[in-house]
Structures are given as structure tokens and as C-alpha cells.
Amino acid sequence: MTALLPRRGLAQILALIVILAVDRVVSPQFFDLRLQDGRLFGSLIDVLNRGTPVALLSLGMVLVIATRGIDLSVGAVMAIAGAIAASLADTHSLAVVLAAALGAGLICGLWNGFLVAVLGMQPIVATLILMVAGRGIAQLITEGRIVTFSSPDLVWLGNGSVLGLPVPVAIALGMLILTGAVVRGSALGLLIEATGGNARASELAGVGTRAMILSVYVWCGVCAALAGVIAAADIMGADANNAGLWLELDAILAVVIGGTSLFGGRFSLLLAVLGALIIQTMNTGILLSGYPPEFNLLVKAVVVLTVLLLQSPKLTGFAGIAARLRRTKA
């Protein structure tokens, strides 16, 4: 079994194919691609581009969830990082802007990690603090208004292209490879899983569980900050009230759709990102379909339920029994 794509990804890949097929039905031009100003243009690119923030969030979130934790603050961290990036963009170089925004994400992650790993607070409560306070901090930075900027460097980060692909997509791909290389190229992934599976046993076996937990929250904070910078760069402004609002839930959903258990102990980076793409493929399909917006959430809920049911061992077990019964009768 390869480390990055285990056989258990079948349900997710199937779900993605089915949703893509449905999108093709509601919108015949779904797979059309053309070049526009040296950049690929089409609904598929929209799916990748719009899915980037949640994909980045899910990269950090999946590691946190693997340790049996959860990070509710990622949406607020996005808002903080976006606010910092937008405020500095027109007066500082891109390197300074990125360092400040990602540094803020790192500090937020340290704070969450400190509360969980050192003070032993329950993750859901510990990160709830920053979820609430973080948006306030972001609003303080922007003074409650939408801070706009025109710095071409930062705008490029949201709207530019690399080899025809939007820059955000390239960044997300890079982060996936980097995270994968670090956690699966070493024993780190295994240690994270051990911490989530049984923290006490791992501790006794010599795993530095505290350091593990601290570092996954830090990574989650950095990923969220990067998502926040990209979201701000995309609209050329930081909207502290709305940036990343409720995206923590989409990130958790992406991880869960990717088959990672909220009880920790096992995770798949690639499937979490696939989960984010499933969510976005569905969102884009809904927007293209032309149904009244009142149906958006309903359609989303039904699709998510179906994908999760596909993964339920009990239900697939029932299907197996039913098939066997039919066979014996015949």
C-alpha cells in the first residue's frame, strides 16, 4: 500500500467522478478549457482555484484531527493574516508581507498548541477562544472596513498564473507535496498517528506527544494564514467580517469526507485535499445549475450525506449481506 494513496480512497474518487458527471449534465460547458491572457480559463479551473483556501486549511486540519484534536480557529486566522497582508501590501515588499502574515499564523498556532498540549485544554474549547477573539483582532487591524491594496506582487499571488495554472492552485499543490514529504517521508506521520491513537501509550513508548501536538497546531495556523493571504489577494482587499467565515466547518468536512476519523490515529493528506475538491466541485456545480439560491444548502447537505454514507462500514456491510442473500436465493 502506497503511503499517499491508500486503497480506501475509492469512495472519494467515485464521489468526485459522480459529482463531475452531474456538473457536466447541469452545465454542458463544464469541461471546456481555453487560454485567456496566458492563463487557463474554465469551470474546472474555477473548481481548483476556489477550492484552494479550503484545501490549504484541510492540509493543516487533517494533521490536527489525526492527533484527536480539532482547530475551530482557522477561519479567524485567515481573517487576521489577510488583514495584516492587506495593511502592509502597499508599503512593504512581498517577502515582508508574507513573513508578517505567516508569522501571525504561526503565533496563532502556537497559542492553540500551548492551550492544548501544555495546559491540557480540550481542543474544541481551546480553539473556540481564538475563533471568537481572532475575528475581533482582524477587525481591529482593518478598523472594521475593507482594506484594499494595489500592490502588483500580492495581487499576482491571488490572480496570477504559473504555467497556465492560477498561482493559488500552484501554491496549494506545493504545500501538499511539502507536507506529504515531511510527514510521510519521515516517521513524523506515524508519530502523529500514534499520538492520536493513544497519547498515553505513545508517551510511555517515548514519543514526544506534547511536541507533536504543538507542532500540528502550528502547521495548521501557518496553512490557515497562507489561505488567508490568498483569499485577500484574490479580492485585492481584506474583509475582516467575512474572510474565512465558516470555512473551519468546510475544512473539517473536507477532512471527514477524506475518510479521516475525528477520533484520530489515522489520516490521509491526499484524501483530505480530495475532500476539499469534492466540496468545491459541488459548490461550483450549484452555482452553474441556475437553481434558486434557497436550494444551495439543501443540495450540499444531501450530497455530503451520500458521500459519508458511502464510507459507512455498517451500510456497506448491509449492502454486502444483501448481495450475498440474493446470491444464495438464486
Binding site: Q36, F41, R50, E143, G144, I146, D239, E294
Partner: protein, 321 residues
């Protein structure tokens, strides 16, 4: 600190009452919701300007989006015996008892920007609000006039599903274009009043409508969504304002910036000046005893590129939007 401010405020109020020379000068308490949006911040700064213009002493209490803070503020204004109270209610219910207290103290209350539930109509002097159905109509009428007899496919970016402003702005627009058979809303989807969602939804509209070739105009329930939509159109190689007409509502500074660049065509103002008409109504009521109508509707003014958008941008950008 708040207590200290309250003491100071009541002390000044007492002083003002004690000095007959200042008797003509009004003191008005304003319970503002908080800083929920840029528009709200602009409303607060415009209120201060309007009060200063009329030499009215305006005390603003920020409620941080909480009704209990607003009720506390109103009680303290009553204790200070102000001449009138302005209230921008955060919710529409639960005001009866505190408004009765104000009525017993013979202090008139004026509602700003939002109305409260019908049971309390006799408890306030008047409500100064804009008519969001009318805003939609103004936008629709402009589009009908601009397009003329040409067939026009419109895409609509709605506000948050279920928000009354979104429902009303949709209703008004639909009524206005219903009179013209050549205008048709072909796609309508929510952009949650935000730039990011406005951009995302517009991207999908462009793809679904033949790369934007079938779209003649965009109508957005607020300017922020339109700013996002304009970016989406530019990235798709379209020229917003020329290939696709734009009309939105609110008149925030950034839409005037787009207008200067020729990328936006029209916006309908939701004026942040609710305090001006309210101050005039209170002055007339206090001076000559003129009872104002129960509802003072603010003007929903239409702005286009012909209105010197650069000048409007300069005048609006300092207001805190």
C-alpha cells in the same frame, strides 16, 4: 472607564440644564448599534457632522451589537434628561418597556435606519429609514432607461438568503423591470453581500452564459459584491461597464473608484445621513411642536459616471466606510 464617561456625561448634561444661556442648544443621545459594517461607521461619522452643523450636542453610545447595551444606554440618556434619543435598533423586538420609560420622561425617541415591530408605533416619534424596495426600483428603472428597446439578459447577485434587505431589493428590481418585456433576469444566485462570493458567483455566471457573451447587465444587491463581480469580468477578458452594464446599491467609496475607471455604471445610494432628517424633525418638534410623520423616507439617489465620481469618492473615503 465607562462609568467615568457616564459621570462626566451626566455632569455636562446637568451643567447644560443649569445654564439658561444654553437652553436653545439641544442635547441628543444616540444609541448606535456598533461597528458592524463600513456603512455603519460612515453613519456614525455623518451623524457627528450633521449634529455639529446644527450645533447640537450629540452623545453617541456604541452598543457593540447587543440589545442590552442599547437598553442601558437609553436608560442612562433618560437619567441625563437629554432632549431626544436616537436609536438604531439592533433587533426589532423587545423595546416596549424602555421606550415606555422614555415616553414617561417625555423624551421623544427617533428610530434611525431600522424600524421596530408594529406594536410599539406610539412609543416613538418617527422612524428615519430608507425604503429598500424603492432602492431596487431605482436600479431597475435606470437599467430599463439605459438599455432602451434592446433585448437584455440580466444576471443578479442576491444578498444573503432570507435577509429582508435582499428580499426587498430583489422585489423592487423585479417590479421595475416587469414593465419592460425586453429585460429578463436569466440567472440569480446569492453572493452573501461579500466581495469574495460576488466574484465566485460572477465567474460561474460568465461560464454558464457563453463566456459572458449572453449577459448584457449585472445587478448586485450591494456594491461589495459588484466590486468582486467586476474583477471576475476583467479576469474573463470582458470589459465591465462596456461589454456588461453594472448597477448596484449602497454607494460605498470603492464603487466610485470603479466608476472613475469606467468599470461600473450606476449605484443607488443608501445614504448614511439618517441623523440629518432626524435632527430637523426633533428641532421642529421641540421648537414649534410640529409632529413629524411616522416614517421619514430618506432619498435613494442614483449616481452614474456623469456625477463626477472622483469628487464623490474623495468626499466619502474619509467617512469610515
Amino acid at each position: 472607564m465607562i462609568l467615568k464617561a457616564l459621570f462626566a456625561a451626566s455632569a455636562t448634561a446637568a451643567l447644560l440644564l443649569a445654564l439658561p444661556a444654553n437652553a436653545a442648544e439641544l442635547t441628543i443621545g444616540f444609541s448606535q448599534i456598533g461597528s458592524e459594517s463600513g456603512w455603519r461607521a460612515a453613519e456614525t461619522s455623518v451623524s457627528k457632522q450633521e449634529a455639529a452643523k446644527r450645533k447640537v450636542n450629540l452623545k453617541i453610545a456604541d452598543a457593540q451589537q447587543k440589545q442590552e447595551n442599547q437598553i442601558k444606554a437609553i436608560r442612562s440618556f433618560i437619567a441625563q434628561n437629554v432632549d431626544a434619543i436616537f436609536l438604531a435598533p439592533v433587533v426589532s423586538t423587545g423595546w416596549d418597556s424602555v421606550l415606555k420609560e422614555a415616553k414617561e420622561a417625555k423624551i421623544p425617541v427617533v428610530l434611525l435606519d431600522r424600524d421596530i415591530d408594529p406594536s410599539g408605533k406610539e412609543l416613538y416619534l418617527t422612524a428615519v429609514t430608507s425604503d429598500s424596495v424603492h432602492e431596487g426600483e431605482v436600479a431597475g428603472d435606470w437599467l430599463a432607461k439605459t438599455v432602451g428597446a434592446k433585448a437584455c439578459n440580466i444576471v443578479e447577485l442576491q444578498g444573503t438568503v432570507g435577509a429582508s434587505v435582499a428580499t426587498n431589493r430583489k422585489k423592487g428590481f423585479d417590479t421595475a423591470i416587469a414593465k419592460h418585456a425586453n429585460l429578463k433576469v436569466v440567472r440569480s444566485q446569492t453572493g452573501d453581500f461579500t466581495r469574495a462570493k460576488g466574484k465566485e458567483v460572477m465567474e460561474s455566471f460568465i461560464k454558464a452564459e457563453g463566456g459572458g457573451k449572453n449577459i448584457c447587465a449585472v445587478y448586485a444587491h450591494n456594491d461589495d459584491m459588484m466590486v468582486g463581480a467586476i474583477q471576475a469580468m476583467k479576469e474573463a477578458g470582458l470589459k465591465p461597464g462596456k461589454d456588461i452594464l453594472t448597477v448596484s446599491i449602497d454607494a460605498v467609496p470603492d464603487i466610485f473608484k470603479a466608476m472613475v475607471a469606467g468599470e461600473a455604471n450606476a449605484t443607488v445610494e443608501l445614504t448614511p445621513n439618517m441623523a440629518g432628517p432626524a435632527l430637523d424633525a426633533v428641532a421642529a418638534f421641540k421648537g414649534k411642536g410640529t409632529v413629524p410623520p411616522k416614517w421619514i423616507q430618506t432619498e435613494s439617489k442614483l449616481y452614474t459616471a456623469a456625477d463626477d465620481p472622483q469628487k464623490i469618492y474623495d468626499s466619502k473615503k474619509g467617512l469610515g466606510y
